[in-house]
Amino acid sequence: MSTTENPKIPGWTRSRSSVTLLAMDGGRIETRLYASLRKWNLTSYSFVGTTTVKDFLRNAGIREEDVGIVVINGKRQQLDTGLQDGDVVSLFPLIDGG
């Protein structure tokens, strides 16, 4: 990335726009799994095309019913929320122990 951002390299503008297009068409998210969801041991997830939290869960093998709260970049979201490159996705289980 650092070399493509150097304006002295010929073709820099074109490279940057192609990187941007790539990000819109897929990407990588950081995942933080809590409590009983930690056993999936995932810290990141890469995807191609558009994707949602639900797609991510299916690909990771996590059942939707095991997820209580979805938080993306600090805000509560839903299972059908779309993911963007660079998102930090935190998943908390449904907990009820006392």
Binding site: Y34, A35, E65, D66, I69, D96, G97, G98
Partner: protein
């Protein structure tokens, strides 16, 4: 009025900024309903008693078992087989005889929660299952009394203050979903979360500080990380939204194997 004994007992909190005799009197006049005498209830109740809450009504149907003692910190081996609420009341009375404790050895449910919670200034959700928590949520909304919700699993736990018809409620948070089975728990998790619940209760009752109104605090003891998430009200919520009075929507969910 605060007498000399109370002035001595509470001297270290009476000298707090924004606290003083007025706040102490508010605590003394308060009646708190602690739903559940497990790990959360033990932790929350004993600190509320130490702080000088006037009346504590504690309800739980359980008897003390050896398997409770890793986390239900008010009970000892000699309490095994006896009612949890009776053992809790003894410990509270030993600590602070000024607190009026009402131990209720009952199974909490839709049929009795309203009558038991009525007259309370605040409810502590220290229960161990979501159906009972939803029942308490519904009663709090009917009574217009705040609930401090707490729940734990493993090294993890969460706290949220619910102000009926102002903030999101428990039904807004989980939408009626339930889980099953007793989760693994390390004693420090309900210890920490119960104390956060007691902290919220003291602030609500005295009107000081910032409260977790509509904010879910998530505590991860393994990573020592605290996350806060704003939880919005659900306009269609069956308990506090336009879905009020509709049929219950309890959907089963299973825990991971």
């Amino acid at each position: 009025m605060i007498d000399d004994a109370a002035r001595e007992r509470y001297q270290r909190q009476l000298s707090l900024d924004g606290f003083g005799a007025a706040a102490q009197e508010k605590l003394a006049e308060a009646s708190v309903f602690v739903a559940g005498a497990g790990g959360l209830g033990c932790s929350a109740a004993i600190y509320l008693a130490a702080a000088g809450i006037g009346r504590l009504r504690v309800a739980d149907h359980g008897n003390v078992e050896l398997g409770n003692l890793n986390r239900q910190i008010l009970y000892g081996e000699r309490d095994i087989g006896g009612h949890k609420v009776a053992a809790m009341a003894r410990r509270i009375e030993e600590l602070n005889a000024n607190v009026s404790v009402e131990p209720l050895h009952v199974t909490l449910g839709d049929d009795n929660l309203y009558a038991l919670a009525k007259g309370s200034s605040l409810l502590i959700d220290a229960l161990d299952n979501l159906p009972s928590r939803y029942a308490l949520n519904k009663v709090a909304i009917r009574l217009g009394v705040p609930i401090v919700h707490g729940a734990v699993q493993g090294f993890f736990g969460q706290v949220m203050t619910i102000v009926p018809n102002v903030t999101a409620c428990l039904m807004c948070l989980y939408g009626g979903r339930v889980s099953s089975g007793a989760p693994p728990v390390i004693g420090v998790a309900p210890g920490v979360i119960g104390l956060l619940q007691a902290t919220e209760a003291i602030k609500i009752l005295t009107g000081i500080g910032r409260q977790l109104r509509g904010t879910l605090l998530l505590f991860d003891g393994l990573q020592t990380r605290i996350t806060e998430v704003e939880i919005s009200r659900d306009p269609a919520c069956p308990h506090c939204g336009r879905g009020r009075g509709a049929a219950p929507v309890i959907a089963p969910a299973r825990r991971p194997a």
